[in-house]
C-alpha cells in the first residue's frame, strides 16, 4: 500500500508539472510574442473603411482588457492564472454573449465520445492482432494486415481523413460524410437518435483507427515475439498448456504493460488527430469549435479550448497512470 501511495504522489506531482508548464507555454505564446495582438485585431477590423480615432481608442481599451494586457507583467500573469483556475474565459466574441465555457461544454461530449470509442477500439484491436501476429508468425492474413497498417501509420490524420472523404463522399457515397447527427433529427426517439449518431461517427472513427492501429500492432508484435522465446513460455508449452491460454495469460498479459504506458504517451497526439478529423468531417466537437474560433477571430474561445485541452489530456494520462497497477502489480511491490 505504501508503495502505491509513493507511486500515486509521484504521478500527481507529474500531473501538476504538466499543467503548470503547459499553461505557462500558452502564457508565453500569448504574452511574450513581439506581435501585439490588439493592434493586429484593430488593423484587421479597420482595414475596410475609415473609423474615427475615438472609436479605435475605445476598441483598443476593451481589447487590451480582453487579452489581459492591463497592469504590470506580474499582475497580467496572476490574472491569467486566476481566469484559468476558475475556468472563466469570459464571453465568446463570435457567439456573444454566450460564455466560452458553455460553448466548450456543449462540444465536449462529442469529442470525448469520439475519442473514447476510437481510442479504445484502436488500442484493443491493434494489440489483439499484434499479439496474434507475434505468436502465429506464419499467418499470411496477419502479415498482410501488418503491411497495410504500417503503410497507413506515417500518413497524417488530415490526409487519411481526406482520402476516406473522397472514397465515401464522391466515389461510393453510402455513409454520411459531415456532421454529428442528421440536422433536423428528432431527439425524442432515443434509439433512432443513437443509431444516427453512431452512423455519423463511422467515418471519423475509421480514419482515427486507420492511422492509429499500425503503431499498436507493430509494438505488440515485437513485444510478443520477444516474450515467446522466454523460458517460462517454452516450459508452459512443454507442460501442455493450451496455446490460446499461453497467448492470453502468459504472453499478452506480460507484454501489455508497455502498451498501456504507450497509450498514456500517445494521448496528446491522438487528441491532435481528433481535432483535424472533426474538422474534415464537420463533427461538432471541440476541434471544429477551435478551428471555427480561429476563423472568427474569437480570442477567448481559442485560449479557452487550448488550456482546457491541456488540462483534459493530462488528467486522462493521470487516470491511466493510476489504473496502471491493475495491469502490472509490480508497481506496488517496488
Amino acid at each position: 500500500m505504501r508503495a502505491y501511495v509513493t507511486y500515486l504522489s509521484k504521478r500527481l506531482v507529474q500531473f501538476a508539472v504538466v499543467v503548470f508548464v503547459g499553461i505557462n507555454i500558452t502564457y508565453l505564446v500569448t504574452h511574450m510574442t513581439p506581435i501585439d495582438p490588439v493592434e493586429q485585431s484593430i488593423s484587421a477590423a479597420t482595414s475596410f473603411g475609415s473609423t474615427s480615432p475615438e472609436a479605435i481608442e475605445m476598441m483598443r481599451q476593451s481589447l487590451r482588457q480582453l487579452y489581459g494586457l492591463e497592469g504590470s507583467p506580474w499582475e497580467q500573469y496572476v490574472s491569467f492564472w486566476k481566469r484559468i483556475l476558475v475556468g472563466d474565459f469570459g464571453p465568446s466574441l463570435s457567439a456573444f454573449p454566450t460564455p466560452v465555457s458553455q460553448l466548450i461544454l456543449r462540444a465536449l461530449p462529442w469529442t470525448v465520445g469520439l475519442l473514447l470509442v476510437s481510442t479504445l477500439l484502436t488500442w484493443f484491436l491493434g494489440n489483439l492482432l499484434g499479439g496474434l501476429a507475434g505468436y502465429y508468425r506464419n499467418s499470411r492474413i496477419l502479415r498482410a494486415f501488418g503491411v497495410i497498417s504500417m503503410g497507413l501509420k506515417p500518413i497524417p490524420y488530415y490526409v487519411v481523413a481526406l482520402m476516406l472523404l473522397i472514397i465515401f463522399g464522391f466515389l461510393w457515397p453510402i455513409l454520411p460524410i459531415s456532421g454529428g447527427a442528421t440536422m433536423a433529427s428528432d431527439r425524442s426517439n432515443t434509439l433512432a437518435f443513437a443509431l444516427d449518431v453512431a452512423v455519423h461517427s463511422i467515418l471519423p472513427v475509421l480514419s482515427l483507427m486507420a492511422v492509429g492501429i499500425g503503431g499498436w500492432f507493430m509494438g505488440m508484435r515485437s513485444l510478443v515475439s520477444n516474450v515467446v522465446t522466454e523460458d517460462y513460455v517454452i516450459y508452459a508449452e512443454l507442460a501442455g498448456v493450451k496455446g490460446s491460454r499461453i497467448l492470453r495469460s502468459y504472453v499478452m498479459r506480460n507484454a501489455l504493460g508497455p502498451q498501456v504506458t504507450g497509450l498514456a504517451l500517445q494521448l496528446g497526439a491522438i487528441f491532435n488527430g481528433a481535432i483535424i478529423t472533426e474538422y474534415v468531417f464537420g463533427y461538432p466537437g471541440v476541434g471544429s469549435l477551435l478551428i471555427s474560433a480561429v476563423h472568427a477571430g474569437d480570442y477567448s474561445l481559442v485560449l479557452g479550448i487550448t488550456t482546457i485541452s491541456i488540462v483534459a489530456v493530462s488528467a486522462t494520462v493521470l487516470l491511466i497512470d493510476l489504473l496502471y497497477p491493475l495491469i502490472d502489480p509490480r508497481v506496488e511491490a517496488h
Binding site: V13, Q14, V17, V18, V21, G22, I25, T26, V29, T30, T33, I35, P37, Q40, A44, M150, G151, K153, P154, I155, P156, Y157, Y158, V159, L162, M163, I166, F170, S222, S225, N226, T229, A264, L265, L267, G268, A269, F271, N272, I275, I276, Y279, L290, I291, V294, Y299, V302, L303, I305, T306, S309, I310, V313, S314, V317
Partner: protein, 289 residues
C-alpha cells in the same frame, strides 16, 4: 564495415530499406526539378486553367492557372526543407537534454525529464493554432519551423537519455572523469558517437511528424499560405472546391507525392532501427535470438 558496404547490404537484404530509398529518391528528384521550372512559383494564370493531365501539362493545371507539376516541385521542396530544418533544430535540443539528463542523473535528470514528459503529453496542435492566432500575418515559414522544433524534441530526448544512462556506468566514462575531462567534453566526445545511430533513425520520424504538422496547418490556412508547400497546394485546391468541380488532379497528385514521402521516410526509419538492434537482424537471417 564501411558506410558504403552497410548501405549496399541494407539495399540487398532489407526490402523496407530498398523501397524506402526508392520512394525518397523519386520525391527528391521531383523537388530538384524545381530549379528548372519555366514558371516562377508565385505567378498565377501563366497557363490555361483547369486543363486535365495531358502531354503538355503532364499533371494538369490548377484553377489558378498554374502547372500542377511545376507547382508541385516547389511545394515538395519547401515541405521537405521544412521537415529537415525542424529535424535539425529539434535534434540539437533533444541531444542536449538527453545527453545531459542521462549523464548527470539525480535531480538534474528528474527536472529535465518532468519537463520532457510535459512536452510529450500536452496536445501541441492547439498550442500551434494559438500561436498562429496571435501571429496572424506575421506567421512565416521560418518562424513556424522554429516553434515546431521547440515543441517537438521531447520524445527523442527520452530515447537518447536511455542510451546515455547506460553509457554513464561504462569503464571509459569513469576513466574520462578520473583523467579530468569536463562534463561537456565527455558528453560531446565520448557519448555523442554512441547515440548518433538513434539520432539518425529518429530524424526520419521527426521529419515525418513535422511535415504532418506543416501540411495540416497549411491545409487549414494557418500558415503563410503564399509560400508554396504541399499543404498550401491542398489549401488552394480546397478554396477552389477542386474536388466538387472535378479538378481532381490538383489535389490527388500532391497527396500521392506526400504519401510517398511519408512512407519512404518511415520505411527508412524502421529499417535503420532494425539495423541498430542486432537481435532483429539475427531474426531476419533466420537465427534464434
Amino acid at each position: 564495415m564501411s558506410a558504403l558496404k552497410i548501405f549496399r547490404d541494407l539495399f540487398h537484404y532489407n526490402i523496407e530499406f530498398a523501397i524506402g530509398l526508392i520512394l525518397l529518391l523519386v520525391v527528391l528528384t521531383v523537388s530538384v526539378c524545381s530549379f528548372f521550372s519555366p514558371y516562377p512559383p508565385m505567378d498565377v494564370y501563366v497557363v490555361p486553367p483547369d486543363v486535365p493531365p495531358s502531354w503538355e501539362h503532364p499533371l494538369g493545371t490548377t484553377s489558378r492557372g498554374q502547372d500542377v507539376f511545376w507547382q508541385l516541385t516547389f511545394a515538395i521542396r519547401n515541405t521537405l526543407l521544412f521537415g529537415i530544418v525542424v529535424a535539425i533544430l529539434s535534434r540539437i535540443i533533444s541531444l542536449f537534454v538527453g545527453l545531459i539528463s542521462g549523464y548527470k542523473g539525480g535531480w538534474v535528470d528528474r527536472v529535465l525529464m518532468s519537463i520532457n514528459d510535459t512536452f510529450v503529453v500536452i496536445p501541441l496542435f492547439p498550442i500551434l493554432v494559438l500561436f498562429y492566432f496571435i501571429m496572424r500575418d506575421q506567421m512565416s515559414w521560418a518562424l513556424l519551423a522554429v516553434i515546431t522544433a521547440l515543441l517537438g524534441w521531447a520524445y527523442d530526448a527520452r530515447l537518447i537519455r536511455s542510451v546515455a544512462m547506460s553509457l554513464r556506468t561504462r569503464e571509459f566514462t569513469r576513466q574520462a572523469v578520473f583523467s579530468g575531462m569536463s562534463t561537456g567534453k565527455i558528453v560531446l566526445q565520448e557519448h555523442l558517437p554512441f547515440v548518433l545511430p538513434i539520432v539518425f533513425s529518429t530524424t526520419m520520424n521527426n521529419i515525418n511528424w513535422s511535415i504532418g504538422i506543416e501540411v495540416t496547418l497549411s491545409v487549414l490556412g494557418f500558415t503563410d499560405i503564399n509560400t508554396p508547400t504541399i499543404g498550401g497546394m491542398i489549401y488552394w485546391a480546397n478554396q477552389h472546391t477542386a474536388l466538387v468541380s472535378g479538378v481532381w488532379w490538383w489535389i490527388t497528385f500532391p497527396v500521392v507525392l506526400v504519401i510517398m514521402l511519408f512512407i519512404g521516410l518511415f520505411l527508412l526509419a524502421i529499417s535503420m532501427n532494425e539495423y541498430i538492434d542486432p537481435r532483429s537482424r539475427l531474426l531476419r537471417l533466420g537465427g534464434q535470438v
